[in-house]
Symmetry: C2
Subunit: 199 residues, 2 copies
Amino acid sequence: MAEHIEALQRLAEQFARLPGIGKKSAMRLAFSILELSDEEAENFANTIIEAKEKVHLCPVCQSLTDKDVCSVCNDISRDRSTIMVLEDTKAVSSLEKVREYRGLYHVLHGVISPMNGVTPDKLKIRELLSRIASDEVKEIIIATNPTVEGEATAMYLSKLLKPFDIKITRLAYGIPVGSDLEYADEVTLYRAIEGRRSI
Amino acid sequence: MAEHIEALQRLAEQFARLPGIGKKSAMRLAFSILELSDEEAENFANTIIEAKEKVHLCPVCQSLTDKDVCSVCNDISRDRSTIMVLEDTKAVSSLEKVREYRGLYHVLHGVISPMNGVTPDKLKIRELLSRIASDEVKEIIIATNPTVEGEATAMYLSKLLKPFDIKITRLAYGIPVGSDLEYADEVTLYRAIEGRRSI
């Protein structure tokens, strides 16, 4: 009968549009909203509106922020000579957790994928070039994902950046720490052997 | 850095409060909200408010509805002599999909669980008794879940309903259709043997 409760059904449909939420989960989430107090539900709704209103792209690195300039670009202690190029803001989030990297970021908002209509001009590449034009940048770390499209984008960028006199690097490939060789795929193992180091 | 985008962080916290949504999924969902258009996000927020405002308990069977009386209780073609007692409205939803049952429902909104402070008076038992007081009811099917608490609640109800001159039944136990005996637990197998039928 949940299917006949239109207001609940509409809410479930909204949840089902989000990535990774199937029909059953969507209905479960819709039910759980009804279990919130009126105040909590209103809070939830307002937080959605607020996030949409406040969060925008950082004019420098193009990652998401609710400040004028994002907290990384705004941090004077960060090394301004290095820019790590990422596919999306989620990757910035993952890298910041490592706390090892002290340079800046640049978010492309996607990878080149002609099949899906994503041509280079759809990505934040122009913005990257204009940052490089400032003489501070010494190294660009291309950290797009190790997928076919991520690789193609890395290749495209490395060619594009060649004329500039800067170091262009790519994250290391290899077996993930804590994993088991038994489960590593052949390409990863090949790259791990290829990139082996003396200890 | 998503952690430093307060508006996004607050949205992720809202999602993380919903059942079955971990921290990572919550952040992923929060990001996905930002990818909606302004209009879509507003729609989502309004749907939450609307569901909370419109959906309430059916005054007859206590299941959720956005009408005065729910669509089952309001359907004159349903058999008013049988009431199936369920733990929650989600169970009503599952049973309505079967399309086999043509009686009415009664939703308890929980099971007796003294450990969690759920005593019989916290459930919609009084409302059930007042329905039975009407002379139409001939059978009560107690369909609480086959868990320890569901069983205890079924026992409690069957004792409580004994003085009324009505048939009290419980859903059949057995091996689920399409399952493999190899994976059935012992209690289920025992119940399946106990409840065996001649063919």
